[in-house]
Amino acid sequence: MIFGQKKLEKELAPTGTTDVVLESIKLNKSFYEPDEFHVLKDVSFQVKRSEFVSIVGKSGCGKSTLLYLISTLDTAYTGEIHINNRKVTGLTQNQLARFRNEHIGFVFQFHFLLPEFTALQNVMIPAEKLGKYSKSEIEDRAYEKLKWLGMDEFAGKLSSKLSGGQQQRVAIARALINDPTIIMGDEPTGNLDSTNTNIVFDMLKDLSESKGQTIISVTHDEDFAQKSDRVIEMKDGEIIKQ
């Protein structure tokens, strides 16, 4: 508690503008169904630009809940979240949607591509939503991302026809299309074999090192966590090590 308090004072002062991309201040969240359960207790932490952070902990420790809070999808909490020096707590759902579109990329455990679309279309959709580039530019960029992930030859294939590892790589390309500040991963390698796990890890690592993008990933995978820059360990709704 004292530790969190100190940290808060330190953060609020002159920092912020430097290289902190994500800051959470005293996040609290409770579930009321089926029984009342205090899942996050005064969680405060910072993530710097181009850091590769893994959040680990046992099932039910609140790490996924934390991820959904800092990714702005879940808004039912108390405390504050700042991303890119902008306070996102209290923004409307529409503003948050726009914010996610521009600043956050997602990679999930079960890849979650839209099955009716080709790999290329899946990658293009968030960019078309953002509307920053023309359609042909978006197509070029999407193709570039796929190529970087070694998926260019599958660009025209329906995403439902791809293998698990291939789908996850397309999902990463999709997360990258708008050049987000932060890429959030919810067990990004949880559903992959060791070969594909290594491929995906190397790609994420490369992103943080060479492109300066921040990776925050919840994982069960010990190896994956150990290889990342920093590990945040959680237990019973509190951060016990960071």
Binding site: L73, R98, R100, N101, L114, E116, Q121
Partner: protein, 419 residues
């Protein structure tokens, strides 16, 4: 084609599940197709019926309604009714003429009325058409044929001969077509007419007409006014009805009431005279709308079901779209666009189907019937029926699609992404 991304997604969804899209569309297609068929057919039939009724019945007819109220006796006037009861057993009218007395004056007056398009005096009487030993009961109408034609459009309803023949041929008669067939007479033949008073006259057939209503074509005939006056032994002022056509026949009821009060005779309007037929027209209209409405609502439920199922199957997709920055209204737009597209395609194909079916019905031969003069089923093709079908069809699908779409827009992505 370049579409905003929401519509692009909707389009891809629709094209990816062609069979589902097609099935949902078929529901609307059949709903609107059947609506168009029903409304075209029913309104065709109603219009046919209304036309026949209108040409057979004048907009307003003024006539002398013989009083049948015998509750007062003239004896009551001269006796103290407090003490005396006057009982008259079986009273009946005597020496009453059923004609409109100052007909000439009334006609002149009516001709000046701007609401009235045409006036025609009529002398109607019961007659027997003698055909050898067989006597057929009917009505004889003495008219100024040119005035009468303005009212009933008789000139267009002639099967043989012309109405002008009545003016040129001495003692000419125009017979109902079914009646002529029954009497086995043709143009130029003679028929003998007998009145209930026992007088009789011979007329030469100069034409046959067909209104298309058995009750008329089998009993009615036209001769000149003076011939009937002669047959009945009456003077040349003697007419039983003054019929008229209005510029706007929907005002008939009000105008008739006014004339009844002004001239002191009974004035009957066409709606009143055909009350039972008008009721059946109304009932048919109501039924048509009830059935059409049901068909379209059922189609709407079809869309509702299919959209609900689609959305249930796409929970993950919706969650991922939301995670990637699509707002609730984007999601709603996507699914609403899908159902409106289905509705639109269904409506257009429905109109085509309805038109083709109506066209098919138009070409169906109507079962041969002496009483009704139509050879094919009557069908109308009114643009506003088609308009209404499209508008209502789109509206139904919009509402049917709106409910599941709004539900989709409110889906919480976290609950789904966490599994």
């Amino acid at each position: 084609m370049k579409l905003p991304v929401n519509y692009e997604i909707a389009k891809t969804h629709l094209l990816a599940k062609k069979r589902t899209t097609f099935t949902a569309m078929l529901g609307v297609t059949f709903g609107i197709g059947m609506y168009v068929l029903m409304i075209s057919f029913m309104s065709g039939f109603n219009e046919f019926l209304e036309d026949s009724l209108l040409s057979a019945t004048p907009d307003i007819s003024i006539y002398n309604d013989i009083k049948t109220d015998y509750s007062h006796s003239i004896l009551d006037e001269i006796s103290d009714t407090g003490k005396v009861w006057n009982m008259v057993h079986h009273p009946k009218p005597k020496d009453i003429t059923p004609n409109v007395h100052n007909s000439q004056k009334i006609i002149e007056d009516l001709k000046r009325d701007p609401r009235i398009r045409a006036v025609s005096p009529l002398l109607s009487t019961q007659v027997f058409y003698n055909n050898g030993p067989v006597q057929i009961n009917g009505t004889l109408q003495g008219v100024n044929i040119l005035d009468e034609s303005k009212l009933s459009g008789l000139g267009d309803k002639m099967k043989t001969g012309k109405i002008e023949n009545l003016l040129t041929v001495d003692n000419g008669i125009l017979l109902g077509h079914s009646l002529a067939t029954k009497l086995n007479v043709q143009m130029g033949d003679l028929v003998t007419l007998a009145t209930p008073n026992g007088t009789s006259m011979r007329f030469r057939v100069v034409g046959t007409f067909q209104f298309g209503l058995g009750s008329l074509d089998l009993v009615r005939s036209y001769v000149s006014l003076s011939n009937v006056q002669q047959l009945l032994g009456k003077d040349n002022q003697y007419v039983t009805n003054i019929n008229m056509k209005l510029n706007d026949n929907t005002q008939a009821t009000a105008v008739a009431k006014e004339f009844a009060a002004r001239y002191g005779y009974k004035a009957d309007d066409w709606q009143n005279a055909n009350a039972s037929a008008m009721v059946s027209i109304t009932i048919r209209n109501v039924m048509t709308f009830v059935v059409s409405f049901t068909l379209l609502v059922v189609a709407g439920f079809g869309i509702y079901n299919i959209m609900s199922m689609t959305i249930q199957n796409k929970l993950k997709d919706i969650a991922i779209l939301k995670a990637q920055g699509f707002s609730g209204s984007d999601v709603r737009t996507i699914f609403l666009a899908e159902s409106v597209t289905i509705g639109m395609m269904g409506a257009i194909t429905g109109l085509a189907l309805g038109f083709l079916m109506s066209y098919g019905v138009l070409n169906l031969p109507f079962p041969k019937n002496d009483n009704i003069s139509i050879t094919h089923y009557p069908v109308t093709f009114h643009w506003y029926h088609y308009m209404f079908g499209v508008v209502f069809g789109m509206l139904t699908t919009f509402i049917a699609g709106l409910m599941p779409s709004v539900r989709a827009s409110k889906i919480d992505p976290v609950a789904i992404l966490r599994g």
